[in-house]
């Protein structure tokens, strides 16, 4: 499933928590925003991309 679609699901899910756990609601909205702004990749490909980016950043920090 595409991350933009997952972002929309998280956005809707955050509404369920607004009156209860507002911190969780906020975190879900933030994650939804990040996903919506990150293009239209498939979830697996996106997670792999982030993991690769982290490795690149880490290797730059080391060198």
């Amino acid at each position: 499933m595409k991350i933009s679609q997952l972002g929309r699901i998280l956005q809707r899910a955050s509404v369920m928590h607004t009156s209860g756990d507002s911190e969780l609601a906020k975190a879900l909205v933030e994650l939804a925003e990040i996903l919506k702004k990150s293009g239209d990749a498939e979830a697996i490909a996106f997670v792999q991309r982030v993991s690769k980016l982290r490795s690149v950043i880490k290797s730059k920090e080391v060198s």
Binding site: L10, E30, L31, G39, A43, S51
Partner: protein, 145 residues
């Protein structure tokens, strides 16, 4: 709130959507847990900031790469068109990204009314530079001494 709680929430949400028959969405939500490596006891806000930083660094690198290609093309139309055609089709480069590239290339304004307008500004600036360069070549030819 900790990352652990956010991950549990993704699991819970996955279970709900799966029960509703949306297996792909459930799998997708569980996959997202892979975005949060490291210590699950750290604050979720911190993990989200880190994720944002990682993605921003990618965006900046991609923008920089496009800008470099456009600048390096100089007055070579083939090279410039190849770079700008690719940029125009690249869906990962949203309006904000193209605005930043156009600002870097033109040295002018920072925002345009639309992504298309920013692309047009890039083409226009290239045409101006190419025209100036060809004019200078003609002037050079007629230079005395």
């Amino acid at each position: 709130m900790s990352v652990k709680k956010l991950l549990e929430s993704l699991d819970g949400l996955g279970a709900i959507v799966e029960a509703a028959g949306a297996k792909k969405a459930a799998d997708g939500l569980r996959t997202l847990k892979g975005l949060f490596g490291g210590d699950s006891n750290r604050p979720a806000a911190e993990a989200l900031d880190e994720l944002r930083d990682v993605l921003d660094s990618e965006k900046l690198a991609e923008r920089g790469a496009y800008l470099k290609r456009l600048v390096d093309a100089g007055t070579d139309e083939v090279k410039f068109n190849s770079a700008i055609d690719e940029l125009e089709k690249d869906k990962r480069m949203g309006k904000e990204g193209v605005d930043a590239i156009a600002h870097g290339f033109t040295g002018g304004r920072t925002k345009w009314p639309s992504r298309k307008a920013a692309i047009e500004a890039l083409r226009k600036k290239f045409a101006e530079r190419a025209y100036q360069a060809s004019k200078m070549r003609i002037v050079e030819k007629y230079k005395v001494g």
